[in-house]
C-alpha cells in the first residue's frame, strides 16, 4: 500500500498541472492568437457597444422584429433569492423546460402559444416556434418559422412583404455540404439586416 502512495500523489499533482493548467492555458493562448473573435464568444459590436453574440439567441418581443423560439431559462428572483423567476434568453443560466410529453402544463403552454401566434391566420404554426429549445438560447428558427412571421413584420414596419421575404431567403443557412444539420435562420442576423434595410 505504501509503495503506491508516492506514485499516486506525484502523478496526481503532475497530471493536474499538465491537464488542468498547462493544457487549458496553452489552448487559450493559441486560440486568442489565431481565432480571437470565436475565442471571445463571437460577439456582435455595433457603434462600439456589444449588442450580443451571433451564437446566442435574444428575447425579441417587438412586432417589428422576427421572434425566436420560446425560452425556458430563469433567473434568481430579485425579491427572494431562494426563488427563481422566468427570464427568457438568460445567457448566464442555460436550461430547457424539461417538461415531458404527457405533462398537461406542456400541452397547455404550447396550445396557448400556438393560438396567440396564429391569431386569425389560417396557416399552421411551425412546431419550432412554439417549443422551447434545449438551451433556452437557440439563436435560430427554421425557415418555415421565419416565413410564418413575414406578414406580421412587414405590416409593423410598413414594408413590402416581398422585400421582407427576400431578406429571409437571403438569411437561410443550408446544411453543411448539403448533408449535415438542418436549414436555419439566425434571428439576430436577420433582425440586424431588417434594421439596416430600413436605414438604407
Amino acid at each position: 500500500m505504501l509503495s503506491h502512495l508516492r506514485p499516486a500523489i506525484v502523478l496526481l499533482v503532475a497530471f493536474a498541472a499538465v491537464t488542468g493548467l498547462v493544457y487549458p492555458l496553452a489552448v487559450t493562448g493559441v486560440a486568442q492568437l489565431v481565432f480571437p473573435s470565436q475565442a471571445n464568444g463571437s460577439l456582435v459590436v455595433r457603434d462600439g457597444r456589444v449588442i450580443g453574440s451571433t451564437l446566442i439567441g435574444q428575447n425579441f418581443t417587438s412586432e417589428r422584429y422576427f421572434h425566436g423560439r420560446p425560452s425556458a431559462t430563469s433567473d434568481t428572483d430579485p425579491n427572494d433569492p431562494t426563488k427563481t423567476v422566468s427570464a427568457p434568453y438568460n445567457a448566464a443560466s442555460s436550461a430547457g423546460s424539461n417538461l415531458g410529453p404527457t405533462n398537461q402544463a406542456l400541452v397547455e403552454r404550447i396550445v396557448a402559444d400556438a393560438q396567440q401566434r396564429r391569431g386569425t391566420d389560417p396557416a399552421r404554426v411551425p412546431v419550432d416556434l412554439v417549443t422551447a429549445s434545449g438551451s433556452g438560447l437557440d439563436p435560430h428558427i427554421t425557415p418555415a418559422a421565419a416565413l410564418f412571421q413575414v406578414v406580421r413584420v412587414a405590416r409593423a414596419r410598413s414594408m413590402a412583404e416581398d422585400a421582407v421575404r427576400r431578406l429571409v431567403m437571403e438569411h437561410v443557412e443550408d446544411r453543411a455540404v448539403g448533408i449535415i444539420g438542418e436549414p436555419r435562420v439566425n434571428v439576430l442576423a436577420l433582425n440586424l439586416a431588417l434594421d439596416a434595410a430600413v436605414r438604407r
Partner: protein
C-alpha cells in the same frame, strides 16, 4: 423520417468504422510500450514523471497491486476535487465571484467526476469558477477516462497473455494513455472547436445591450479545452448547464458531428486493440458487430419516435411535418441547428457510451424516444460504451454468453484460447448483478420516501421515469438526466453518489480479478470442438444474451415508466401536477 436523416446517420457510422483500425493500431503500440511518432516530444516527460514518482517502468503488477494503485489514485483525486470546490471562493480565476460549493453538492460532484459519470446536479455557469472547471473537473475528465482505458487494456492482457501473474503496470499505462492518446488529441480538437465558434477565454461574463435595449449577461470561459476531453473521455459533464445543447458548447452541425465521433472514437478503437492483442482482428470486429447491431436498432427506434407528431398538437394547428423548410417532429427541448435526426442520434450515442453529454433535453423526448437511452444505460453501456468501460463491460457479457453456450453443449467454455471456469463466471456475475441491484434498489427506495417523491418535476408515469433514469444514469456512470428531477437535494446527492461508486467499483474490482485469473491460464489452440467466436452465430448469441438479461431484469420497471406513458399518450391522456 427523411432520406437526408438516414444519410446523416450512415455518414456517422461510416466515419466510426473508418477510424477503428488506424486508431486501434496506434493505441496498441502505445500500450505495448513501443515508440510512436510522439515519443520524441513526450518521451523525456514520461521518463521524468516515472523518476519523480518512483515508478519502475519495467516492473509489472499482479491484479491486486494494479487494483490497489487504481483505488488509491481515486481517493486522492476525490479529496483534491472536493477541496477545490469548497475553497473556490478564495482561489483565483473566479471572475463571477462564485461562493464555495455546498458540501453535499461538492461530494456528489467529486464522486461523479472521479467515476467518469459527470452527473450535473449543478449548473456550470452559475456554480463553478474557471479554476474549478479547469483544475478540478477537467483534470478528472482526463484521469477517469485514462483509468477506464487502462483497465480495459489490463483485462485484454488477461485474455492475451499466457501463464503469467501480471497484467501490466497501472502507473505506466496511465501515464502513456494521458500523454500519447488523450492530451495531443485534445489539444488539436480544442483548437478545431474554437475555430467553429466555441469560446476559450478567462474573461468575466459579457454584458450586452440587445437590439431591443434589454440587458443580456453572456457567460464565457475556457469552454473548448474542457469540451473536447468531455467528449473524447466519454465524461459528459458540460461547461454550461445545458451541456452541448448550449450554442457556445456546440455551435454548428459540424461541431456536433465531431463531438459524436469523439464519443465513440476510443471505444470503437479498443475493440480493434482487443483483436490485435489476442492476435485476431476478427475477434475485435465480432465485438464491434454486436455493438453495432444494437446501436443501429436503438437509433432507428429513437429517430422514429422523435420524428412522430405529438397527437395533442396536431389538433391545435401546429405543423409537425418534416419538409424542406423545417425538421418537424418533437422539437421541445431540441435546437433548430440539430433538428430531429441529430438529436435522436446523439441521444443514443451518448447513452450507448457512458458519455452523458446532451444536445437535447431527454426529459422532453417522446416516451419511446426517451426509453432507448434508458435501456442503453440499463444494459450497462456496453454498446461501444464508456472509454474502456464499454469494452470491459462487453467482455464480461462475452464471458456469460460463452458460459451459456458451454452449458448448452456440455463443454468447458473457452474464449480466445482461455478456458472460462467457475471463478471467472462468479466474478462476472458479481459485476453484472451489482448494476440492477443499485438501479432498481435505489429507485424503489426513492419512490417509497417523501424526500424521493419530492424530486420529479413531471406528473404521472413520466415522474417515475425521471427517478429511474437518474439511478440508471448514476449507476451506469453516464451522467445524462431527465433533468426535470430536482436532484440537488441531500437525499439525491448522497444516494446518487453511492450509486455511482457501486456502478464503477463493483464492476472494476471483480473485472480485474477476472483479468488476473485469466492471465494465469495457458492459451489452448483452437480444436475442432471450439465454438468459433468471430462469426455471426457468436454475434447473435452475444446480443441475445445481453437482451435477455437486460429484458428480464428491467422490463417490469420500464413498463411502469415509458411503456405506460406511451400508451397513455396515444390514448389522449395527459397528467397534471397536483395543486
Amino acid at each position: 423520417m427523411t432520406v437526408n436523416g438516414w444519410i446523416q446517420i450512415a455518414l456517422f457510422c461510416a466515419i466510426i468504422v473508418a477510424i477503428t483500425r488506424p486508431l486501434g493500431a496506434y493505441m496498441t503500440r502505445v500500450f505495448a510500450g513501443e515508440r510512436t511518432w510522439l515519443t520524441p516530444v513526450f518521451g523525456p516527460v514520461e521518463r521524468g514523471l516515472y523518476a519523480a514518482a518512483g515508478v519502475d517502468a519495467k516492473a509489472e503488477q499482479g491484479w491486486v497491486a494494479y487494483a490497489l494503485g487504481m483505488l488509491l489514485f481515486h481517493v486522492f483525486g476525490f479529496l483534491f476535487l472536493y477541496a477545490l470546490q469548497r475553497l473556490q471562493a478564495d482561489l483565483p480565476l473566479n471572475p463571477q465571484g462564485f461562493g464555495a460549493v455546498a458540501p453535499d453538492l461538492a461530494l456528489n460532484t467529486a464522486v461523479s467526476f472521479i467515476t467518469n459519470t459527470n452527473w450535473q446536479a449543478y449548473g456550470g455557469e452559475t456554480t463553478m469558477s474557471y479554476l474549478t472547471q479547469m483544475l478540478g473537473l477537467a483534470v478528472q475528465n482526463f484521469k477517469s477516462a485514462a483509468v477506464g482505458i487502462v483497465l480495459a487494456v489490463a483485462l485484454i492482457r488477461g485474455f492475451a497473455r499466457r501463464s503469467t501473474r501480471t497484467i501490466g503496470n497501472f502507473w505506466v499505462d496511465l501515464t502513456r494513455c494521458t500523454l500519447y492518446v488523450l492530451l495531443p488529441a485534445c489539444f488539436v480538437g480544442a483548437l478545431a472547436f474554437v475555430a467553429m465558434g466555441v469560446p476559450q477565454n478567462l474573461n468575466a461574463y459579457v454584458e450586452a445591450q440587445t437590439l431591443e435595449g434589454a440587458r443580456q449577461t453572456i457567460a464565457q470561459g475556457p469552454v473548448a479545452s474542457q469540451l473536447v476531453i468531455k467528449m473524447m473521455g466519454t465524461n459528459g459533464g458540460g461547461f454550461f448547464n445545458a451541456n452541448s445543447a448550449h450554442p457556445y458548447e456546440n455551435p454548428t452541425a459540424v461541431s456536433n458531428l465531431l463531438q459524436m465521433v469523439l464519443i465513440f472514437a476510443i471505444s470503437a478503437a479498443l475493440t480493434n486493440v482487443f483483436g490485435r492483442m489476442v492476435s485476431s482482428e476478427r475477434q475485435g470486429w465480432a465485438i464491434f458487430a454486436a455493438m453495432g447491431v444494437m446501436f443501429v436498432a436503438g437509433v432507428a427506434v429513437t429517430y422514429w419516435a422523435e420524428a412522430a407528431a405529438h397527437p395533442a398538437f396536431a389538433a391545435a394547428g401546429i405543423d409537425q411535418a418534416a419538409s424542406a423548410a423545417q425538421a418537424g417532429g418533437n422539437m421541445e427541448g431540441k435546437e433548430v441547428r440539430f433538428g430531429i435526426v441529430a438529436s435522436a442520434l446523439f441521444a443514443v450515442i451518448t447513452t450507448a457510451a457512458s458519455c452523458g453529454a446532451v444536445i437535447a433535453m431527454h426529459d422532453s423526448f417522446m416516451p419511446i424516444g426517451g426509453m432507448v437511452p434508458l435501456v442503453n444505460m440499463m444494459l450497462g453501456e456496453i454498446i461501444f460504451g464508456g472509454v474502456g468501460a464499454g469494452l470491459y463491460g462487453m467482455l464480461l457479457f462475452v464471458v456469460i454468453a460463452i458460459f451459456v453456450a458451454g452449458l448448452m453443449v456440455g463443454r468447458t467454455p473457452e474464449y480466445v484460447g482461455k478456458k472460462i471456469e467457475s471463478r471467472e463466471v462468479k466474478m462476472t456475475m458479481l459485476a453484472v448483478l451489482s448494476l440492477p441491484m443499485s438501479i432498481l434498489g435505489f429507485t424503489a427506495l426513492a419512490v417509497s420516501l417523501p424526500v424521493g417523491l419530492a424530486g420529479p418535476a413531471n406528473p404521472g408515469p413520466h415522474g417515475f421515469s425521471e427517478i429511474l433514469y437518474a439511478y440508471s444514469s448514476a449507476t451506469g456512470n453516464n451522467g445524462s438526466a431527465f433533468a426535470g428531477l430536482s436532484a440537488n437535494t441531500l437525499f439525491y446527492n448522497v444516494t446518487l453518489a453511492i450509486a455511482m461508486l457501486i456502478g464503477r467499483f463493483a464492476v472494476i474490482v471483480p473485472m480485474l480479478a477476472v483479468a488476473g485469473s485469466l492471465a494465469a491460464k495457458p492459451r489452448i489452440p483452437p480444436s475442432a470442438g471450439t465454438f468459433p467466436t468471430d462469426g455471426p452465430l457468436f454475434v447473435g448469441l452475444l446480443v441475445g444474451v445481453i437482451l435477455i438479461i437486460g429484458g428480464l431484469t428491467f422490463f417490469p420497471a420500464l413498463a411502469l415508466g415509458p411503456v405506460v406513458e406511451h400508451l397513455a399518450l396515444n390514448a389522449g391522456a395527459l397528467f397534471a401536477t397536483a395543486p
